[in-house]
Amino acid sequence: MAASLQERTERAPRDEGRSPGAVMDRLLLQPNGLPKPPSRLWAWITAVLMVASLYMIFIYAPIERTQGIPQKIFYFHVPLAWDAYLAFFFTLVGSIAYLKTGRARWDVLAHSAAEIGVVLTSLVLITGSIWGKTIWGTWWTWDARLTSTLVMWFIYVAYLMLRSAVGENDRGARYAAILGIVGFIDVPIVHMSVTWWRTLHPQPTVLNPAGPTLPGSMLAALMVTLVTMTILFFYLLRERMLIEHLRAEVHALTDRALEQQLSEVDA
């Protein structure tokens, strides 16, 4: 069956060059250009790391003196936020590369990363809310970081809405790329303007100019969860991109089948 499918699509073989796009393709595609199957190895690595993270969070790391158990959500909240920024950075890279080259693979990267980024940002907002309810006594406060994260979430929700409003075509990809660039540039400006306006959120504890203020064991737990979450992010990103490549493959197959039917009707 696989062979006959292959015969019926005109698929370009995988790009074997050394450009960043070609390297990305090699992670996703087989030599004949078909998407690779999902990776069990990475799924297992992610699963093992998650168990390790749970151990680090709940058993290894000490209980924080003032906040108690609820502080544990910090180990989810912070890595989620970092990876959300990472996702939107990938959207920026994919968007710029797509406008420069017009190659669909960059659009696939931008789109997939944005979708995961929106999920991660939603989780950041939810975990933040839960944490805020227990510590500050309120689900939401219009503090600078919360507000700018919410605005960022809205920007990338708009990105996904724009994609669905224009449709799956070259124009949709181009418009999305523009928003992927404009939105990313906007995020620090939003953050700056909101911070200037009002602030209440705790100061950064790791990337603090005066050195980390977090105790060593908590920092170790945070680092492990950060690595885990980042690996999970890359695993999800790859899977999401594979889906997009498969979808293109299905489109190509249906188009070919339609064309064959057309030519049979002609004959």
């Binding site: 708009a158 409003a165 124009r171 181009r174 906007d186 939003v190 909101v194």
Partner: protein, 474 residues
């Protein structure tokens, strides 16, 4: 063969530039629909080529590719030696298209429409040429009549005049015979006369007529060339049209003059229709009224509430104004006319930005004055003016970009604010804060906030300027 290898072969084989049109393996896909598949086409100077074929065969797509309205998905296309991908601007200066819909502004007169087109193309001796063209198509007496009052056939004649105004080397006509009466057809046939030496490509469903007037007919079917006939009776094209020598470098598309033309056209349209500004002012006053009912605003509250009320009103009015600036052009088909002009795409962006900013500022001036009349706040004028000017510019810079994007999408009325509001949060915060200092609500100075808006303006003008090309491309 991989696309890269294919491209490499095409690159090493330079296409003959002596022909007016050279297309190799041209393909165009719209999303998943293939409109043209690997079409090879060569057209010599002076040829009159008719495109035949059933609906959906790819005739219009081919004409759109030749006019640079659409870019080929694959393959190479040269028009008079210029590459359609990299030198589209140069091609636009040589080509005219008469499309399915005439891209004319209803509220402008026939002569004004032609003058606008002439200014976009930098046509010299414009008044004389406009008169001559109107005479040619038999509309001399209708020169000062609003285009909207002309009949369908007269509008088609005007569209032909508009196409000829720029003296195109290549004239593209998409079913030009629709809606024309016998005398209109006569005008058209005169146009197709080989003696003019002009290269013409036209599509039609009238095979007989095509064979009579064209020197060659090409039949398309399912996006492929299905047949080609050189008409036996047709007079041959005159040899040598004197257009073979290309300038060494393609001319740079104009930037400043078209901005003036676009702004002047918009202002004239607004003067004729008087619909946008008036409705925006009424709308803004109504928003103020609604706020007053909702919050029961007293003079004492004004320093605290006023800046926010005003800016929320302005961003609502702004969304309507930006939306209108592109959706109207899109709906009337006139955007196509702008895209066909050999102007820098940035000129379209800047022209629209200027018009939107001007109209929004006028609305803001009226609204603020009425607001001051109602509530008697004490206002420092300078921070207020600074906030209005800079805030409006930044808001319009992003709004114009997004309006161009959302204009031809589903649910554009909803999509535009969804795109615009989150991205313009910094402008909104800073503009409200600066306005608050003007109202004496905050002891801080206005200039840090004005500085924030100014840097936002600079960043987003630069970014929009850089990416706007990608919005209008097809």
């Amino acid at each position: 063969m991989s696309p890269a290898a294919e491209l490499a072969i095409l690159e090493t084989e330079p296409l003959a530039a002596a022909n007016m049109v050279v297309g190799r393996r041209l393909s165009k896909r719209y999303g998943r629909v293939a409109a043209l598949r690997q079409v090879d086409i060569e057209i010599a100077p002076g040829e009159r080529v008719a495109l035949l074929g059933p609906n959906g065969a790819g005739k219009t797509t081919l004409l759109r590719l030749l006019s640079t309205l659409a870019r080929p998905t694959a393959g190479q296309l040269l028009v008079q030696g210029y590459d359609a991908r990299r030198q589209a601007g140069a091609i636009r200066g040589l080509v005219s298209l008469v499309g399915h819909r005439p891209f004319l502004y209803d509220e402008l007169t026939a002569a004004e429409n032609l003058r606008f087109r002439g200014r976009l193309h930098g046509v010299t001796d414009l008044p004389i040429r406009v008169g001559a063209m109107l005479g040619l198509v038999g509309l001399a007496e209708r020169a000062n009549q609003p285009t909207g009052t002309l009949s369908r056939g007269q509008q088609q004649r005007l569209a032909i005049a508009q196409a000829l105004l720029t003296d195109p080397a290549l004239l593209l006509l998409d079913e030009p015979d629709t809606g024309l009466d016998a005398s209109g057809r006569a005008v058209l046939e005169q146009l197709l006369d080989p003696a003019s030496g002009r290269t013409i490509v036209f599509s039609t469903h009238d095979r007989e007529w095509a064979q009579r007037v064209a020197s060659r007919t090409i039949t398309l079917r399912d996006g492929r060339v299905a047949g080609e006939i050189t008409t036996p009776g047709a007079r041959p094209a005159p040899a040598g049209t004197g257009r073979e020598h290309l300038p060494a470098r393609p001319p740079r598309p104009a930037l400043v003059a078209p901005i003036g033309a676009i702004v002047a056209r918009e202002l004239l349209s607004e003067y004729r229709r008087r619909d946008t500004l008036v409705s925006l002012v009424v709308f803004s006053l109504l928003v103020l009224l609604v706020f007053d009912f909702a919050f029961d605003v007293r003079t004492a509250d004004v320093p605290l509430l006023g800046p926010g009320l005003l800016w929320v009103t302005f961003i609502f009015a702004g969304v309507l104004a930006f939306n209108r600036s592109f959706s109207q052009e899109e709906d009337r088909g006139t955007l196509t006319g702008l895209l066909l002009a050999p102007v820098d795409r940035a000129a379209i962006y800047l022209g629209k930005l200027l018009v939107s900013s001007i109209s929004l500022l006028l609305v803001e001036a009226v609204t603020t004055a009425v607001f001051a009349g109602f509530f008697n706040p004490r206002v420092q004028p300078l921070p207020l003016i600074g906030a209005l000017l800079l805030g409006t510019l930044g808001f319009a810079a992003v709004g114009t970009l997004f309006a161009a994007m959302s204009a031809n999408t589903r649910a554009r009325e909803v999509l535009l604010p969804v795109l615009l509001f989150p991205v313009s949060v910094p402008v909104l915060i800073a503009a409200v804060q600066a306005t608050a200092t003007a109202f004496g609500a905050s002891a801080s100075a206005a200039h840090p906030w004005l500085g924030l808006i100014a840097s936002y303006d600079a960043i987003f003008l630069a970014v929009s300027f850089a990416v706007f090309d990608f919005v209008l491309e097809e």
